[in-house]
Amino acid sequence: MAFRADKDTNEVFELYVVPASGGAPPVKVSGDLVEGGDIDDFAWSPDGTRLAFSADKDVASTRELYVTPADGSAAP
């Protein structure tokens, strides 16, 4: 499952994936964010392999659209 959380930095919401059965720590899949950046929204691909998310990731206060592998194997 995927979730947004300020898990690593207070008030900076990033995107994580974790097995629904537990047993492994969450993997951050949103990569680095610009200072002041946040994940805004996300959606699983219908085949469950990727996540799309909108974020001000590269430019503060500008939401853009990204796709990333759900296993965190590549940077978005």
Binding site: D41, A43, W44, S45, P46, D47, T49, R50, A52, S54, K57, D58, T62, R63, E64, L65, Y66, V67, T68, A74, P76
Partner: protein, 153 residues
């Protein structure tokens, strides 16, 4: 991988949806023209520029629900518009009735008004394309859309 491409100054991506076949995403954004939200389709694999599929139409706002919907076969998108791109900017835009349009996902033709010239189409909450949509030419398209409450589907 960023797939929304370059945005105009003060641009933003608003909503996005995967195509049912997981090959593409549709997204609404102020991308090319300031203060004009339009609809784009882009390959989920990147490598191709996003294609504007809303043609000369501007997306109607709906902060509490979806702005557009895919056909089940991932070939078309439906969206609601309330004005054209060349409408004067705020505070004096020229609005049209809220109208439902259908466009091929490859953006190769101007979207088609399927709801007619009169009345306003309500928010697209619960919009479903009723069945697979081998439905071009557009004279057949209107029969393929249904507006229903989500809990009635």
């Amino acid at each position: 991988m960023k797939i929304s491409g370059a945005l105009v100054e003060l641009g933003n991506v608003f909503q996005f949806q995967w195509s049912p076949d997981a090959s593409r995403l549709a997204f609404s954004a102020v991308k090319e023209i300031r203060a004009r939200a339009t609809l784009y389709v882009v390959s989920a694999d990147g490598g191709e520029e996003a294609v504007r599929v809303s043609g000369s139409q501007v997306m109607a706002p709906n902060e509490n629900g979806p702005l557009f919907a895919w056909s089940p076969d991932s070939t078309h998108v439906a969206f609601r518009s309330d004005r054209q791109i060349d409408s004067p900017p705020l505070p004096n835009p020229i609005y049209i009735p809220d109208t439902l349009f259908v466009a091929p996902a490859d953006g190769n033709v101007e979207p088609i008004n399927v709801s007619g010239e009169s009345g306003n189409v309500g928010p697209l909450n619960g919009l479903r394309i009723a069945r697979d949509s081998a439905f071009w030419p557009p004279s057949r398209a209107i029969a393929l859309f249904s507006l229903a409450r989500p809990n009635s589907m």
